[in-house]
Amino acid sequence: MGTVNQEQVRRDVTAFIVENFLFGNVADAPRPETSFMETGLVDSTGILELVAHLESAYGVSVADDELIPENLDSVGSIAAFVVRKKGG
């Protein structure tokens, strides 16, 4: 996959969460700034699932020291992280 922009990643990650964690319930979809930790929407297993999705969908490899809330605690922070990883 070539370059991606943050909006594309936000849409994709939100869709992944709605599909896999909310069984299609769009009404509960997180806003870009919603903290997964504070709301309990995505737990540590969920983070691993999200990371596996990012690695397969965007061809990025998430290093151990990148597994921090700053990169992964919201749809918005994930989008920024992925774009950074892709050199965007």
Binding site: D43, L48, A52, L67
Partner: protein, 328 residues
């Protein structure tokens, strides 16, 4: 009151008497059974529960089970038998390995390990670990697989979710098989089963749902692990058990509970949990347990996160409509 390790001191004699009175009431009145089955792991918690059960009901009303399997440490059964010998109750040895082989427990686990280390096989050993409290005070608690190759080299890799979930699912056969056997003996004796979590384990969901988490009575679930050690010593549990560090005795490589599940060794984890439960600030706790205030905040968050993620473990079956006639 200044926060210190002394907050966990209790009147052991009074607490032992109170728990024993509760055990007698619960077994006779609530459960209407004639005694208790205790699965003995050779660890401090099950030994303490066995001692309390024997004191409460008399040794004739306690039955111990020793249930080693392929990955158990060699000293497990020696230690667990020292408990039934010390407190004078009957016990049975149930060898788990053939049952677990029938369930393909080891095979399913090793298949999952090979998702991470493709060469894993005979002569290898493994365990899963958590990285512990991050220096920076931020980061997720995600599991790593540690393997020892036949040549003794140790290798470590982060677990992807599919492999992690399958390893845990396969090893959970061990706790669930043990509980199945506990209920067999409980049913044949008209006894009830015991659960042996301490407060840390109970609060933080460190048990297998419908495995060691299933039990009719959990006599020490309100006691911090430090208090369980003190209680075990008070009750006369053999010194070899009281002086042993907590292990899971579940994986083929030796594994401490603090590297598998808890962020800190139990004595510090106890204090952090007590402090959080009593509203003590991170700055006051930090010097007592040798962490920075930011790290204590991380531990507090980790406690909340584990409570949230393991709420499912405590839930009984959830109905989608009321059955008002069944009053529990």
């Amino acid at each position: 009151m200044t926060f210190s390790a002394d907050v966990l001191s209790i009147d052991l004699a009074a607490e032992a008497d109170r728990i024993c009175a509760e055990i007698r009431r619960i077994v006779s009145h609530d459960l209407k059974r004639r005694g208790l089955v205790v699965a003995l792991s050779g660890g401090i918690d099950s030994s303490c529960v066995a001692a309390l059960a024997a004191r409460a009901l008399g040794p004739a009303h306690v039955h111990g089970l020793h249930m080693p399997e392929r990955d158990s440490s060699e000293e497990t059964i020696k230690l667990s038998k020292s408990v039934s010998d010390t407190f004078g109750f009957d016990s049975t040895v149930e060898e788990l390995t053939p049952i677990l082989e029938g369930l393909r427990c080891y095979q399913r686990r090793d298949e999952a390990i090979r998702m991470v280390f493709p060469d894993y096989g005979a002569g290898w050993k493994s365990k899963i670990v958590l990285p512990g409290v991050p220096e920076s005070g931020e980061g997720y608690n995600v599991y790593y697989l540690v393997a020892q190759t036949p040549s003794g080299e140790m290798i470590k890799k982060r677990l992807p979710p599919k492999a992690y979930l399958q390893i845990v699912a396969a090893t959970n056969f061990k706790q669930r098989t043990r509980k199945m056997l506990e209920y067999y003996h409980a049913d044949r004796l008209h006894f009830a089963t015991t659960g042996t979590p301490n407060r840390l384990e109970y609060d933080q969901g460190f048990f297998v749902k419908n495995g060691d988490g299933a039990a009719d009575v959990k006599p020490i679930a309100h006691l911090y692990k430090t208090q369980v050690y003190a209680m075990a010593r008070f009750l006369g549990v053999p010194a070899a058990i009281c002086n042993r560090a907590p292990t899971t005795d579940t994986y083929s490589l030796a594994q401490g509970q603090d590297e598998f599940y808890f962020a800190l060794p139990y004595d510090k984890m106890d204090l952090a949990l007590w402090a959080k439960n009593h509203g003590v600030g991170a700055a006051e706790v930090a010097p007592v347990i040798g962490l920075s205030p930011a790290q204590v905040e991380w531990v507090y968050k980790d406690i909340d996160q584990k409570r949230s993620t393991t709420r499912y473990m405590h839930l009984p079956p959830v109905l989608c409509g009321d059955v008002a006639e069944i009053d529990i």
